[in-house]
Each structure stands twice: as C-alpha cells, then as structure tokens.
C-alpha cells in the first residue's frame, strides 16, 4: 500500500518532474537529492513514486533508469501517435557483426580492441569504430600496458536503446548461465557416450 502523499512530498515530486523535464538527459540520483535538498534514499523513493504515478495513470511519459541516473521519455505505447507528428529518433540498423561486437564490449568492458578480436577471431576495427560513431560505445581511457591500448565500454545511449537500466539487467552471462552452457555441452557428451 502506498501511503497518502502530503503536500510537501507532492511538491518535491513535481519539482523532480520539472528537473527531469528541463535537463532532458539522464540526471544522477545524487544531483536530484542535492537539488531537492533531501537524502539520496528519499530521492530514490520520490523517483519511484513519480514513476509509479505515471504508470498507474497510463500517462504519456515515463521514467527510465540508466545506471543510477533517471531520464524522462515517452512511453513505448505512444509510438503510434508519435510517428505521425515527431521525427523518429535516429536509430541505426545494427548488423550481426555489430551486435556481436557490442555484446562483447557490454560484458567485457572495459575492453581493448585486441581482446575483442581474440574473442571474435577476426579484425574488429571497423565494427568498433561504427559503434563509437553510433554513440553506443565510447572510449574509457587507456590500458596501462605496452602500447597503452584504448579501452572501450558502453554508453547511456546503449542502455536506452536496449531498454536496459543497468549492466546487471543485461541478459544472462552470469556464472549460472555459463554453467548451464557447459552442462549442456557435457550432456551432449554423456548422450554420445551412451549412444556408443
């Protein structure tokens, strides 16, 4: 049950709305708390309440969570109305090669081109450059190793494009899934042995 909201909290919640609206970009929770002069956990509670009120009323806007930052966007359900008036936000067609490279960067970040190439078994210069151009991937700095190679990681744009709030939200590749993969392979062996 949600507690009834007092005037003060309501005012803060709508101040939060104004902040998210005006900034446009994702706003870190810390900055929200600072602007409203409240603690971060109270700020988080406000974000959740505002988000809940948008959802329960079926509003046209929603709050995205991106790595501990929050951003207003339209709700996906509004897409059909929007394409009639607004210019579609630019989206790039990602080929299999780009998706493969992007997956590696997403899970292995910070990662060098050499590491990506080792996993893919092919040169990945072009793919990485394209992803940087699409702003899905960015340079994170340089590895303290011979040649000081560049390190790459994913951007906020990446999280937004794939509807992911944080890296933990990404599909699998946790250790459990890896185990599952291995087990599958082993099962196949087992079957093979039995079938012999």
């Amino acid at each position: 049950m949600r507690e009834p909201m007092n005037e003060e909290r309501k005012k803060q919640m709508y101040a939060l709305e104004a902040i998210l609206f005006a900034v446009g970009d994702a706003v870190p929770l810390e900055k929200i708390a600072d602007a409203l002069d409240i603690e971060e956990d109270a700020a988080l509670k406000l974000v959740e309440d505002l988000s809940f009120s948008y959802e329960s009323e079926g509003r046209g806007i929603q709050i995205l969570e991106l790595n501990g930052s929050y951003q207003l966007s339209t709700r996906p359900e509004m897409y059909d109305y929007l394409i009639k008036v607004a210019k579609q936000p630019q989206h790039y067609a990602l080929t299999d090669v780009l998706l493969e490279t992007l997956s590696i960067i997403a899970y292995k970040q910070p990662v060098t081109k050499a590491e990506i190439e080792k996993i893919r078994g092919v040169s990945s210069d072009h793919a990485v450059n394209k992803l940087v151009e699409y702003e899905l991937v960015k340079e994170l700095g340089r590895l303290n190793a011979p040649g000081r190679p560049l390190l790459f990681g994913t951007t906020e744009e990446f999280l937004r494009c794939f509807g992911v709030s944080s890296m933990e939200d990404l599909p699998l590749l946790d250790t459990l899934k890896i185990e599952e993969f291995k087990k599958q392979a082993e099962d196949e062996i087992y079957v093979d042995i039995e079938s012999v």
Binding site: F21, P89, L99, I119, G121, V122, D192
Partner: protein
C-alpha cells in the same frame, strides 16, 4: 563437397568452425579434429578470396587446426596437476566463449526493438535558469590571503619596476623605426636593371643610407637572382659584386615582381 555457402555467410573462422561442428553433429568438447580440419581446409580452398585480411584470418585458424591435429598424434603433455593436456582445450574454450556471445547478440537484437519506440527530449532550460551565475563567496575566495601577502606582492612589484628603469641609459630617446620594404627595393632594382646591362652592387647602394637599407637591397638582389632576372659574380672575397641584368631593354609587365614578405 557442396560449396553452396559463401564466405560472407561466416563472420570469421570461429563462426565457420561452429557451423562445421553443428553440421557434423559432433560434440564441442570432443571435436574429431582430423575430420573437422579436413572440412575446414576444403572449405577455404573452395573460396574465391577477395579480401586479403579476411583470408589471413581464416588461414591462421587453419594453421591452428593443423597444429592441434599433429599434437593429437603425439603423447599427451602433462600439466602441473598431473593431468593430460588436451591440445584442443584452448580452441574449445574459445569456441564456447564465442558461441556464448553470439547467443547474447541475438538476445540484444530482440531487446533493441523496445528501445526504438521511445522518444527522449533535449534539454530545455528556461533562459533565467541558463543565465544564472552563482554569487561569488568573497570570504572563501580570500581566506588564504591576508594583508601581509598583499603588501609583500605590492612591494615585489614596485621593486621589479625600479629594476626595469636602467638609469645609465634612461636618457636615450626611443629608437626610430624606419620602415624598409623589400618590395620598394625590388621596384628600384627592377627599374635600374631595365636601363643598365651590367652594374656593380656598390653602385646600387649609393643613396641607401642605413644599414637596414643595404641589407634589404641585398635581399632584393638575391630575390631577383632566384627568379632569373639577374646574375651575379664576385671575383674576390669581399670584392665588389658585379650584377648582369637579364631585364635590360625589357619593359613588359611580366618582369614586374612582387614580394609577399617585408623586412620592416
């Protein structure tokens, strides 16, 4: 063997290997290396290579496969734990990892669809907000300095200023700057060269009174030598320079030259 697939169908050697393993329905942990290597080599031999980089990537894998194949014939190596090392192990790990990322990339592809359906907006800060500047905290600003510092700085400044006044030469007036341009000298030289077939450099200098005039006239002579309008000859060191004019008798505009730089 049926070569119905093209190289483009595979993203790289790992992709091709996974395909072969899948097609032959063999276990990834127990790759029949002889057979898979044979098929792999057969495949890359049948491809018409258009891209050298791509070809070398496939060839590196071919070498790896052949290497593993030969190691499989030798007695197994033993690792620190006394276990036999399977020569295929590294390749298997690599294949598994690659397979996993391929799987993830399909998952990502599915997710991408949702992301396309939302709009975000640009910042729209009201002008009053954008223009706002935080007031200066003067006290914090000055907290590390006091009057003594200020006094020391001022004294230092005054001392430096005194040092700057060189009393021995303080009475000399400012040095007058005489603009001397190469273009002026070139014009003078060109006109002279049109009416004189041969002349000495020292003759050219009559009427040039400052050192700068002489230097710039010399630069003008060099400039005209460079473009072939004059030729010079000097018989002895420090002797007079004899100048022969290639412009003698010519009046046309083509002989006019301009000079971009100045020595003013």
């Amino acid at each position: 063997m049926n070569m119905q697939y093209k190289l483009e169908a595979f993203e790289g050697p790992l992709d091709l290997l996974l395909h072969l393993i899948d097609k032959n329905k063999v276990n990834i942990y127990d790759i029949p290396i002889v057979e898979i290597t044979r098929q792999y080599l057969e495949y890359i031999e049948g491809v018409e290579w258009k891209n050298l980089d791509s070809m070398s990537e496939f060839l590196v894998m071919a070498a790896t496969l052949v290497d593993i194949k030969s190691k499989m014939l030798l007695p197994a190596e033993i690792d620190e734990d006394g276990e036999e090392i399977d020569p295929r192990r590294e390749l298997v790990d690599q294949l598994l990892q690659y397979k996993m990322f391929k799987y993830i990339s399909f998952e990502l592809k599915d997710r991408q669809v949702d992301g396309e359906k939302i709009w975000i907006k640009d910042a729209s800060l009201p002008e009053e907000v954008a223009k706002y500047r935080e007031p200066v905290d003067v006290e914090a600003l000055c907290k590390d300095v006091d009057l003594t510092d200020l006094n020391r700085i001022f004294k230092e400044l005054m001392r430096r200023q005194e040092d700057k006044i060189d009393t021995a030469h303080a009475d000399f007036g400012r040095i007058k700057k005489d603009p001397v341009s190469v273009t002026d000298k070139l014009t003078k030289l060109t006109n002279f060269a049109r009416s004189h077939k041969s002349f000495s450099f020292s003759k050219m200098l009559s009427g040039e009174d400052t050192k700068m005039d002489i230097v710039v006239m010399f630069i003008a002579v060099l400039e005209m030598v460079k473009i072939g309008h004059l030729t010079v000859q000097q018989k002895d060191i420090f002797g007079d320079i004899t100048i022969a004019s290639n412009l003698y008798g010519k009046e046309d505009r083509q002989t006019e030259i301009t000079y971009a730089g100045t020595y003013e």
